[in-house]
């Protein structure tokens, strides 16, 4: 269904294609050792370091039996000698069957997909897109709730710059969600996304206090609130503790609530939450590997 397709932006995949990747991921979770890509070579090009994402992708490639070439540090490549992105991609696409790339510049993956002979999977282009994160979030939501439709999803923290929440909103909009946006004034959900939801008739409510949404949410999606995002540091000091989740706050929440976070966290989820069965963020990270196996296998084999 997704054979030979590039995955640059989550909107490149239709609802059906997304569901197909989630089904493949489930299949790989039940049996992670399926070396169906023996004889394939996959390039892993990290133009900026991201150990977490790279290990997840490369483990997925290895579990599928593919060979992996590439670099994890742009310092060692000719890109630092001034080689254009186009030339690097043209060269590598002569060697590999698929390219997974991360790049600090926004739009780099889209451009690469136009220059490459082989499909590109975007593993993050600056603050723009990171579609495998969105797919693993959806996988985690479906797995814990048994469905994607009609869920109440609370998003907390930095909703202005957080690309993961923006992509998740776009992708989930096909499944009739209700969103609760909880953020300080400086980091509110941008108008363009609210407009997107308005156009599709999707319900959302805005809050500044997490306590208002905790009892009604099925999914609590936490994000990092970073100091450097605030123009006014006084404002940061004032709000920083407001967006921290503690175990005691989970007392009156729904039984099916699960807490997600794209990781790494920087203090917005207190460690006493980790042992609560509603904490799902570590399992979510593990799901990333199965989801990436699904993406790669789907593109290369057409399964």
């Amino acid at each position: 269904m997704i054979k030979n397709k590039s995955l640059v932006s989550i909107t490149d995949f239709s609802r059906e294609e997304i569901l197909h990747v989630l089904d493949l991921a489930a299949q790989f979770e039940s049996n992670p050792n399926q070396p169906i890509l023996q004889g394939h070579i996959i390039a892993s090009l990290f133009f900026e370091p991201s150990t977490r994402t790279r290990l997840s992708f490369e483990t997925a490639m290895n579990r599928l039996g593919a060979r992996v070439i590439g670099f994890s540090d742009p310092g060692v490549t000719s890109a630092t000698k001034g080689e254009t992105l186009k030339d690097t991609i043209k060269m590598v696409s002569n060697y590999a069957d698929l390219i997974v790339m991360r790049h600090p510049l926004e739009g780099a993956a889209r451009y690469a997909s136009e220059q490459s002979r082989v499909p590109i999977v975007n593993a993050g282009d600056g603050a723009n897109q990171h579609p495998s994160q969105t797919l693993l979030d959806m996988y985690s939501i479906r797995k814990t709730q048994g469905r994607l439709e009609d869920l109440k999803i609370a998003m907390v923290g930095d909703l202005k710059y957080g690309r993961t929440v923006h992509s998740l909103i776009q992708a989930m909009s096909d499944f009739n969600p209700t969103f609760y946006f909880v953020a300080p004034d400086e980091l509110k959900m941008p108008n363009e996304y609210k407009q997107f939801l308005d156009e599709r008739g999707i319900r959302y409510e805005e809050y500044t206090d997490m306590a208002d949404v905790l009892p009604k949410a099925d999914i609590l999606y936490m994000t990092r609130v970073q100091k450097e995002r605030f123009a006014d540091l006084m404002e940061y000091e004032r709000v920083k503790n407001t967006y921290v989740l503690h175990n005691a706050m989970l007392d009156d929440t729904k039984d099916n609530l699960k807490i997600l976070h794209p990781l790494p966290r920087v203090g917005e989820i207190s460690e006493d939450v980790d042992l609560n069965p509603k904490a799902y963020y570590f399992k979510q990270a593990e799901n990333g590997m199965y989801t990436r196996m699904g993406i790669i296998a789907g593109i290369l084999t057409g399964m």
Partner: protein
């Protein structure tokens, strides 16, 4: 009639009228008029009821394709074209904002790949008034008041 005479008449070609005076050189550059051998005359800071001060360009022996001329809609949305044959106006045209803008607007996003690599910029027009362009690469929106012609 007197207004017309301020810039000399042409026998065959195209007259582009109602260009905002401050955008004359942008229009010239977008159409690449500096690179063609045709005879070109222009006048600027002419009085206009609509625009305050306007410019006019007359290009001899040149007839623009639809898409080619629509490029100037970004900087001269009210421009009017008169197609001249044998000193007579044989056709009048207005410009339309195209759906895609390729190669002459800079992306406003400082982290966009098009601002670092030799890449032709590409935008989808998502709003016409005011203009809003969505970058094909970084997916960010460039608004009318942020638009820079390259």
């Amino acid at each position: 009639m007197e207004k017309e005479l301020k810039v000399s008449a042409i026998k065959n070609g195209t007259v582009i009228d109602h260009i905002p005076a401050e955008n004359l050189f942008k229009v010239i550059s977008i159409l690449g008029l500096q690179n063609i051998p045709n005879q070109i005359t222009f006048g600027t800071n002419l009085e206009s009821q609509k625009l305050g001060r306007k410019s006019i360009i007359k290009v001899s022996d040149k007839f623009f394709e639809g898409d080619e001329i629509n490029k100037i809609a970004l900087v001269a949305p009210q421009a009017k074209l008169n197609i001249i044959k044998d000193y007579e106006v044989v056709e009048k045209r207005v410009v339309d904002v195209p759906e895609d803008i390729v190669g002459y607007v800079k992306c406003v996003n400082p982290k966009c790949v098009t601002n670092f690599q030799p890449i032709t910029t590409r935008f989808r027009v998502i709003g016409k008034s005011p203009l809003q362009l969505r970058c094909h690469y970084c997916e960010k929106t460039t608004c009318e008041n942020q638009m820079v012609i390259i």
